[in-house]
């Protein structure tokens, strides 16, 4: 069974059809890239999957369970975490604190238990800190753990977002332009990091990306959107030669 399944998903904003009956699925262990020209509906699709937007029709299933009606904060409990296109880090916090927020669902202690510092809550807190530090080390930011977010360069902040998403132990990770806005060397390092996340942490990935070399190098399968419709799907090499895709990107000859 597919780990993530998108079924006939449509989203309309007033008269604008942002997604038009899009269907595809991601199997466990796969890396699937979602590409398409600007405005094709890629980020909208991510926002529907994570329940920022409500779908007009259709459904999203994680491991067979429908999540298109759950509250936004419940999606991550189904094992789906994400990163954001223009970074959505908690600006006033340190790297460690950001990652600890990502750990939110793995601890149960309520507000009263940590306000009147109960031993159980304090143990849970130090366990959470340990997990967060491990993940910060994993993305290679161990030395910057206590630094405030605002003081870090953009590429480093992207890795903080990754650590924050990963610490929730997701089965599937949604990456919105992981290679966007970073330097050439950083793009290679990011591809390596994603491969390590995939292999060592056993995380399935769905990513939106414009950097074609990056997409072709990392993904098992590519789904192409244009004007809210799926126009192609297949292996990276096949998609590159697909006339509909070439037309969508370059316009008709």
């Amino acid at each position: 069974m597919a780990l993530l399944e998108i079924r006939e998903l449509s989203v309309r904003f007033g008269g604008v059809v942002a997604l038009d009956r899009v269907s595809f699925s991601v199997d466990a262990g796969e890396v699937v890239a979602l590409i398409g020209p600007n405005g094709a509906g890629k980020t909208t699709l991510f926002n529907v999957i994570t329940r920022v937007y409500k779908p007009s029709s259709g459904s999203v299933l994680i491991d067979g369970e429908p999540v298109s009606r759950v509250s936004p904060h419940h999606v991550v409990r189904h094992g789906l975490a994400r990163t954001f296109q223009n970074l959505a880090l908690f600006r006033s916090m340190s790297v460690l604190e950001n990652v600890l927020v990502g750990d939110h669902i793995r601890t149960r202690s309520g507000w009263l238990e940590s306000t009147i510092p109960m031993p159980g809550a304090m143990r849970a807190e130090s366990a959470a800190r340990k997990r967060a530090m491990e993940m910060i080390d994993f993305v290679g930011l161990g030395a910057a753990a206590t630094r405030p977010i605002a003081a870090l360069p953009f590429g480093t902040q992207k890795r903080v977002e990754l650590a924050r998403a990963l610490v929730s132990k997701p089965r599937i990770l949604l990456l919105d332009e992981p290679a966007g806005g970073i330097s050439h060397e950083e793009v290679d390092a990011m591809a390596q990091l994603l491969r390590r996340i995939h292999d060592q942490l056993d995380v399935t990935m769905l990513l939106v990306e414009h950097h074609m070399a990056f997409v072709m190098g990392i993904s098992d399968r590519v789904v192409v959107l244009d004007f809210g419709k799926k126009i192609a799907e297949g292996k990276p090499g096949e998609v590159q030669r697909n006339p509909a895709v070439i037309e969508a990107y370059l316009g008709a000859a």
């Binding site: 994400r82 939110h104 480093t156």
Partner: protein
């Protein structure tokens, strides 16, 4: 143990010094001044609560005076009508107000920042009239007169052992307020640096990202409202104890504004901020009303205007100055000054050893 004490960061020493200061200095000041400082600490407690809401969870309230009124009247009614020990009524008032605040958070969820500010402001505006209506319960415009608290024997003994004078009820009120402030500051400090407090700060910084991390936005917003109201309720209850009298006019709209001004002046989203802000917000109008008329160089028209307008003028002037020169409040001003000093000292040391300070951009 000694090693650990020596290794403690300077802020722990500041806490120890502050606690000793606030515990000790009522023994050397007059009973009247102790009453003033008790009132200042009451404001500090309410501002701490407001700071949890505004500073840490990013929701605006212009009506926290209403929660103080609820706490004060809960205690006054319990103590006056049901002859309950006033000290016992304080936590009850806090819990009841906290519950009401939590429920007030429900409509607040549906309102954007601006409308939430208006809704809370409306709450502050209607509170005095709301109190006047149920005359049988609140005694209407006449208010409720409370008996001055009698210090218990152990406190009297301890106080006279230190100062050689008899403890007044004002001094006892001060110590009760101080104990509550200490407890509530400790609780706030625990709250904001653990899971729940982080969740509040996360939703303030970005709701979408916080929800994607599994933070229940609605739940934590309501929780922030509830905890914040609990603080205001306790502050209100202590206010009744310190003033010996609660009436609808004890909780004007200006009180809510005073709380917000104090929170901003002290520094939002910081634990020592409300302490500085509360003391400032309490003493500023009192001091300036004494100081301004005494200055011969200030034209009499201006001086009398300031006197008539009361705290509003000085608040306004100070707020403008704070906004320009210390956007992070008193605490922000002090910490950035300390950082600058430390960097300069460290830079000097590095020049001697020939070692460059680490570039903050490298990771």
């Amino acid at each position: 143990m000694l090693q650990r004490i020596r290794a403690a960061p300077p802020r722990y020493w500041l806490v120890v010094i502050a606690v000793l200061f606030f515990a000790g200095f009522p023994t050397v000041i007059s009973s009247f001044q102790a009453a003033q400082w008790a009132n200042a600490l009451i404001l500090v407690i309410a501002i701490m609560g407001l700071n949890i809401l505004v500073g840490y969870s990013g929701q605006l309230s212009l009506g926290h005076g209403a929660f103080m009124a609820l706490g004060a009247y809960t205690s006054a009614i319990l103590a006056h009508r049901y002859k309950m020990d006033y000290l016992l009524t304080v936590p009850i008032a806090g819990l009841l107000t906290g519950l009401v605040g939590f429920l007030f958070g429900v409509p607040a969820l549906r309102l954007s920042a601006l409308y939430l500010a208006l809704a809370t402001f409306a709450l502050a505006v209607v509170t005095p009239s709301l109190i006047k209506r149920p005359v049988a319960l609140t005694n209407g415009v006449n208010g409720i007169i409370l008996l001055p608290p009698d210090p218990p024997q152990f406190a009297k003994d301890a106080f006279s052992a230190v100062t050689g004078t008899v403890m007044t009820s004002e001094q006892w009120t001060y110590y009760v307020t101080f104990a509550w402030a200490l407890l509530l500051f400790w609780l706030a400090w625990n709250l904001v640096r653990h899971r729940s407090g982080r969740a509040m700060r996360a939703l303030r910084d970005g709701e979408v990202a916080a929800a994607a991390s599994g933070v229940n936005i609605a739940g934590y917003k309501m929780l922030a409202f509830g905890i914040s109201a609990l603080y205001a309720g306790i502050a209100g209850s202590l206010f009744g104890m310190s003033s010996g009298f609660v009436s609808p006019d004890s909780f004007p709209v200006g009180l809510s504004i005073q709380l917000l001004v104090g929170a901003v002046i002290g520094g939002l989203a910081s634990i020592p901020g409300p302490l500085a802000g509360g003391i400032f917000a309490y003493f500023l109008p009192i001091e300036s009303n004494q100081w301004v008329p005494a200055q011969t160089w200030i034209p009499t028209q201006i001086a009398s205007t300031v006197e008539k307008a009361g705290p509003a003028v000085t608040y306004g002037a100070i707020l403008i100055l704070i906004m320009i020169f210390a956007p992070n409040g008193i605490v922000g001003l002090v910490t950035s000054g300390y950082e600058r000093l430390r960097r300069r000292l460290r830079g000097a040391a590095d020049r001697e050893t020939g070692q460059a300070p680490p570039d903050p951009q490298t990771v």
